[in-house]
Subunit: 313 residues, 2 copies
């Protein structure tokens, strides 16, 4: 038995035929071509599904990772800012056109499910996946199932406030001091620029201008021996550690997996991060088992794989 996974993005629609272990057997894609009506986008998804399923009798279902807030129980996309859709019955619409059961998840949740079942947390009982990109996305998988919550909108760990202070950085959600405002790549870039502005002598200026700073700049500066860059990395790592420790104290998961641009630093990020997180974990001195803090392994394929595995759930 195989399933189809759909990663519906603002730029491209990717569809893959995936086996029960999360291996991609075949894939196809097309541009999303926004803005256009939800039905037109779904007709393209259906065409890609038919293309990959053509001649096979072992395709059991379709899973879709969709940006925004979705309700899997009803198949509704409640609201998607990226797609500019609201209250669209995507599940029923696609189910009719593809002729297979359709499951729906938020795109970050689909990717988290992929990592939990077939990536960095494969074979474990619980995982919290954090994506450190433009924002901080996330997903929680418990006993092989996505945590979606009563409203279908779980989990949004990026919008956990870790510093409720009037001078805390503003988050995209309108509040101050969210994890996203401290641990996204965007936040790291902001911290790097602030440090550069405050330290004209910093070696960071040899690596970038204020216009060309990326999420790598501070790490590169630290590796080159610049103390200002090292300070930025330490500050960023601290905030990320506070957020991760909070999530461990809530879920005590077997794995916390990090993905997204900043996670590409690998052990250069993980090693100091683990050292900071450990003493923040409640009761860690008495625990017989500890959470493993690691990086994700599926990369951009996590979305289609997770969506396909959702269709098996």
């Amino acid at each position: 038995m195989v399933t189809l996974g759909v990663d519906l993005g603002g730029t491209n629609i990717k569809v893959a035929l995936v086996d029960e272990k999360g291996n991609i057997l075949q894939q196809a894609s097309c541009p999303t071509n926004l803005p256009r009506p939800a039905e037109a986008v779904c007709d393209d998804i259906a065409a890609l599904c038919h293309q990959l399923a053509d001649g096979r009798s072992d395709v059991a279902g379709v899973g879709i990772g969709c940006p925004g807030t979705v309700d899997d129980a009803t198949g509704m996309v409640l609201y998607s800012n990226n797609l500019d859709w609201s209250n669209f019955a995507m599940g029923p619409y696609l189910q009719e056109r593809v002729g297979l059961p359709v499951r729906l998840a938020n795109d970050a949740n689909a990717a988290a499910l992929g990592e939990a079942l077939a990536g960095c947390a494969r074979g474990t009982d619980s995982a919290v996946i954090l994506t450190l990109g433009t924002g901080v996305g996330g997903g929680v998988v418990l006993g092989g199932k996505l945590l979606t919550g009563y409203t279908g909108a779980a989990a949004e760990p990026g919008h956990m406030v870790i510093n409720d202070a009037p001078n805390a950085p503003l988050c995209t959600c309108g509040r101050r001091g969210c994890l996203e405002a401290y641990a996204s790549a965007t936040a790291l870039i902001r911290m790097t620029k602030q440090a550069m502005a405050a330290h004209p002598e910093s070696g960071l200026w040899q690596l970038a201008t204020l216009d060309t700073v990326t999420g790598r700049t501070a790490f590169d500066g630290r590796d080159a021996g610049d103390p200002v860059a090292a300070g930025v990395v330490e500050e960023y790592t601290h905030w990320l550690a506070v957020g991760i420790a909070n999530l461990i104290n809530i879920f005590f998961p077997q794995v916390v997996g990090l993905s997204g641009g900043v996670a590409n630093q690998g052990e250069a990020l993980l090693k100091p991060l683990r050292a900071m997180v450990e003493p923040m974990v409640f009761g860690s001195a008495f625990a017989s088992k500890h959470t493993t803090l690691t990086t994700c392994t599926l990369g951009y394929r996590a979305g289609v794989i997770g969506a396909a595995l959702l269709a098996r759930n």
Copy 2:
């Protein structure tokens, strides 16, 4: 079919025979008489179980709510500060003496399960229960099951840092700015005392001295029209709202239930709290379903009832 629930406290051992709906049919108790060996305490628990099960053939199992960190899978009490036990195989020990399957949960988790299945969240699909007492305890129930995590120690939402600042109040866990340091009754008493010390003119001085302040004092002062007391209640409510909004943004549960001394304020606490929490919830404007914020209903019976219902899981 009925089950036995045990609420093992530092002062008393309470045991109840409970039906499938969470009704207490019969109960018995004895003093815990600490300090004494774990085996002696368990022998008393076993005696109470035998007393309540005597002559019945429909008792299916025993559930125990135990202070500290427990591992239900192995029946081990890993560490209990209150009981001064560590690495005690309580499950197997009791199972042998009572002759019934034994399940183990942390006491706050057992109480949360009781509220979720038979109290304020009965009939719902998910609940986060917070106990606002000496500390901030908690439990999360998803699809009728306790979230215990890989390490068995979940959930400790009281040790979620909401204000990571050098001047944030110190928590009992050794860190600063935890929810417990802002939203426990202890924290409310601290805030009340600080306000009294800073405002000799406050009407709070007519209600209490610094030695007799309780978790009710600030609420009573507010009701009597004292602006300083109103400020304390507002500050306390704000911090509690930040913690609750974080938990909603992570779990999006159907119910958040509050128990413990401060929750006895009922709507006087809940009404302003809901107004503060709502705008903090991510995407609340687009959600079709919202978390219900309420108070717990089982009181001190939540522990035995939840422990008994755990034995049915």
